[in-house]
């Protein structure tokens, strides 16, 4: 790790330490600046004054040889981390998981939200110096929705009227949809819509407009990116270079952090926190919105009986499970998702463990000695442990759970929509998206085979509702149906806390409520001191 040297700041560039996070609230377009009278002592400086330079080394797990840095191929968190450095999209999530204007400066919609007009920020360039224009945005959507090779984000914008896109001027375009699409901003903040140049985009040596530029990438091993000196958020990034290395497991990842060979270790389990501290680092814990539900298929016995589903939700001692798996970190779940979204219904009573009621329900359903198999996999930190704890808790209600562990690639392989009772994993996406994929008939990840027509109707209404308070009412109705068990076969005991290990001398990382690690992939605010 090279020692950095002081850069010479103008007063406009100096930031208070906490302002780095606030600067992501781009709606205002202004950065918090605090003119300093003069430099203070060296110690004070290293703790308050972001320094430029250095090589930021990051260790991640869960990488694979299929990882990609194609802007439209966010197939894993490792891919997501890399893509987030190279590109920008029209909106970006802030640390509170709210979409904020990013490449877009102004966005308007017509009355029923079926036509969106986007005006881009001026002066933003790609890494090759070319301006980011409306044509590039149109090209990006055409590329994602290419019928011969649709990219991951195609499914959420499939109602876009591609042929009807009109370029109004260099930085403005009008995007019509076949049906109203009220959640266009939230969807554009997800990690599937990064903007690429319309000319000369090569996914193997990609050009984007992001804070870092591509230098090298070997899938499953290592990626190296260098600072973009012309990044449109001009005070970012701080470090000169980012090196992301794949590790096979957490043990070697932690060893690398302890021996100073990496500066950040992404996505650790709770038991690693003392080890990080012992090595002189800090553990940053973000209460994020990822969740790993135990999913029941609602169209096969015994789970097709709503009483059985509700009984299994009642045997879970959520607090105990969360405490055992994550040492008290993470939000307790109530079988519904999107905890920090404005639409989340905090008024729904928190489901508590109730073995007596569970037994009663099972007896009424005729399953006093239920024997079921749960397909478990190491999908996320703590998932396997959670499954074992569930089996023990279920035994108290007379339910025998046989855990069958499979590799993750098998779980999410061709049998994915055929398991009866299995481990699922959901990253953070806006509520409407996860509903569409998980709980609607035809949803691509609808492992529960959920199909409740009143619920589907409400979802259609939600996507056409622009008024936030009306959105809340509809969403609350939908969540009641999920909670009651009519619309959802998910047991969500907790939301997964994201734990990152920060080595000595690394500053500027702040937690993100999305649950994506390393502050929501936000490396541009990190500096080495």
């Amino acid at each position: 790790m090279t020692k950095d040297t002081h850069d010479h700041y103008t007063r406009r560039d100096v930031l208070k330490r906490g302002a780095a996070a606030g600067a992501v609230a781009l709606g205002s377009g202004a950065f918090l600046a605090s003119p300093r009278a003069g430099y203070a002592s060296a110690d004070e400086e290293s703790s308050q004054h972001p320094k430029r330079g250095g090589n930021l080394r990051i260790g991640v797990t869960g990488g694979s040889t299929s990882d990609s840095i194609d802007a439209g191929m966010y197939i894993s968190q490792v891919s997501g981390l890399m893509i987030y450095q190279l590109y920008d999209s029209l909106y970006a999530f802030d640390k509170n998981a709210r979409p904020q204007l990013s490449l877009a400066k102004e966005v308007e919609h017509n009355k029923d939200a079926s036509v969106w007009t986007v005006r881009l920020r001026d002066g933003v360039t790609f890494h090759n110096g070319k301006d980011v224009t409306a044509e590039d945005v149109a090209y990006t959507f055409r590329r994602i929705l290419n019928p011969k090779k649709p990219l991951i984000g195609a499914v959420f914008i499939k109602k876009m009227d591609l042929k009807g896109i009109k370029i109004l001027d260099k930085h403005t375009l009008r995007i019509p949809f076949h049906v109203p699409f009220a959640q266009f901003p939230e969807v554009q903040a997800t990690y599937f819509y990064f903007i690429v140049p319309s000319v000369g985009y090569n996914p193997k040596a990609p050009i984007g407009s992001g804070p870092f530029e591509f230098r090298s990438f070997t899938p499953g091993q290592q990626a190296t990116f260098v600072r973009n000196p012309h990044y449109w958020q001009s005070q970012f990034p701080y470090v000169d270079q980012v090196v992301i290395t794949d590790f096979a497991d957490e043990t070697s990842q932690l060893n690398a952090l302890s021996s100073g060979q990496i500066d950040l270790a992404a996505s650790l389990s709770g038991s690693s926190i003392p080890l990080v501290k012992a090595a002189g680092g800090t553990a940053q814990i973000a209460d994020g919105m990822f969740y790993a539900p135990l999913a029941m298929r609602m169209d096969v016995a015994p789970f097709n009986d709503i009483r059985v589903r509700q009984a299994l939700r009642l045997v879970v001692d959520r607090k105990q499970m969360r405490d055992l798996v994550f040492s008290g970190h993470g939000i307790i779940g109530n079988d519904i998702f999107g905890y920090y979204e404005p639409t989340y219904d905090h008024a729904l009573p928190q489901r508590e463990v109730d073995v007596a009621e569970a037994r009663k329900l099972l007896r009424r359903a005729g399953h006093t000695k239920l024997n079921i198999t749960f397909i478990a996999a190491d999908v996320a930190a703590g998932a396997l442990r959670g499954a074992q704890i569930f089996a023990q808790q279920a035994a108290a209600a007379g339910v025998t759970v046989n855990i069958k562990q499979v590799p993750v690639s098998t779980l999410f392989g061709p049998n994915y929509l055929h398991w009866h009772f299995f481990q699922d994993l959901w990253a953070y996406n806006p509520y409407v998206l996860n509903v569409e994929n998980d709980l609607l008939p035809g949803g691509i990840f609808n492992g529960c085979h959920a199909n409740y027509p009143p619920y589907t109707k409400l979802w259609g209404k939600l996507t056409r509702t622009v008024n936030p308070s009306e959105q809340k009412d509809i969403a609350h109705e939908m969540q009641r149906m999920e909670w009651d068990g009519h619309a959802s076969g998910n047991i969500i005991p907790y939301f997964i806390p994201t734990i990152d290990g920060i080595g000595k001398g690394v500053f500027g990382l702040t937690p993100s409520k999305t649950g994506n690690y390393l502050g929501g992939f936000d490396l541009k605010t990190v500096w080495l001191g």
Binding site: T218, T224, T245, S258, Q261, A278, S409, I444, F445
Partner: protein, 326 residues
């Protein structure tokens, strides 16, 4: 006529015979691995696109990767490619199999050769010393330590070294051995120390015990007694009289150790995040990347076969009686 030939040229005959069997073995192995990968649920297209892909997208990619052909066809296409010198391309990301695996192969070779050579020499030396001082406290101590070390799983040995020299007790050596993709491990010698030391610790006990046992037996033979009575020095007796007789079993054990290393480095590579074929193989299986899996497994099988041939030839060379069988 064949018998006469093998009588007059025992080495050549042995090598030819073993090589033919070796080639047949390689074919059988390649068929088995192909079949085994097919049995796994999912294929490379699933692994690349993830479960968000529609059936249409999956089929398109499968066609592109030739996964829609019958298994026999795919195997035939692959074998044909091998004979043309074309190892194929990785299904996961399209790079050529050779460029993808070359550095990993070299790096694993470095570990195997360094650990094998250092460990064998060290173990043989210790075995000779223990045999020379049979039943003294030194001998008992060495045998006891060897037993204790051999009882530990490889993972424990590796992690103990990391704790001692890198993360907890002392901080003098790197805890992981990460190298930039495509670079060879000799570019960072400090990062080689702990992985090689772990492997050496793991393999020394077995070779040590065999050496000691073989040396003890040799030292009790008549011609050694006779040479001692003639006043030959102890050192000469050990090195030039007892050791040559002990070599055949020692060579066998060393060969077995090299064979073990080819597979056994996987755990050590895992602990140290070392970019070798261990991780390469695990990644390839997860991605159902058949060309890469095939290539790595065949290299390992070929290594096994070659080491066996070399061991057998060496033992033959060291055993004059067998060369001149009537």
């Amino acid at each position: 006529m064949l018998r006469a030939f093998s009588h007059r040229h025992p080495f050549t005959a042995l090598i030819i015979r073993r090589s033919v069997v070796g080639v047949v073995t390689l074919f059988v192995v390649s068929v088995l691995i192909f079949g085994a990968t097919e049995v796994l649920p999912g294929n490379a297209a699933y692994a690349v696109l993830g479960h968000s892909a529609s059936p249409a997208e999956l089929h398109a990619l499968e066609r592109q990767l030739h996964l829609d052909r019958s298994v026999v066809d795919q195997y035939g296409a692959w074998v044909g490619g091998i004979f043309r010198g074309d190892l194929g391309r990785s299904l996961a990301n399209g790079t050529s199999v050779w460029s993808f695996t070359e550095a990993r192969l070299v790096n694993s070779m470095i570990l195997v050769v360094l650990a094998g050579v250092i460990g064998s020499l060290l173990a043989v030396a210790l075995g000779i010393a223990a045999a020379a001082r049979k039943d003294t406290w030194l001998d008992d101590a060495m045998s006891g330590i060897a037993l204790a070390v051999t009882a530990l799983p490889e993972f424990v040995v590796a992690i103990t070294l990391v704790i001692l020299f890198s993360t907890v007790a002392f901080h003098v050596l790197p805890g992981v051995s990460v190298f930039a993709p495509g670079t060879y491990a000799w570019s960072g010698p400090r990062r080689l120390v702990l992985p090689v030391a772990s492997l050496v610790l793991i393999i020394v006990p077995y070779i040590f015990r065999m050496t000691r046992a073989a040396m003890i037996e040799a030292l009790e033979s008549e011609y050694v007694e006779l040479s001692e009575l003639h006043g030959v020095s102890r050192v000469r007796v050990l090195l030039f009289y007892a050791l040559p007789t002990s070599l055949p079993p020692i060579v066998q054990v060393v060969a077995l150790t090299f064979l073990y290393l080819a597979g056994g480095i996987v755990i050590v590579e895992n602990v140290f995040a070392y970019p070798g074929i261990g991780q390469g193989l695990v990644n390839a299986v997860n991605a159902r990347d058949i060309p890469v899996i095939q290539f790595i497994v065949l290299v390992l099988a070929a290594f096994y076969i070659v080491v066996n041939i070399v061991a057998d030839v060496t033992v033959l060379a060291l055993t004059p009686r067998r060369r001149s069988r009537a």
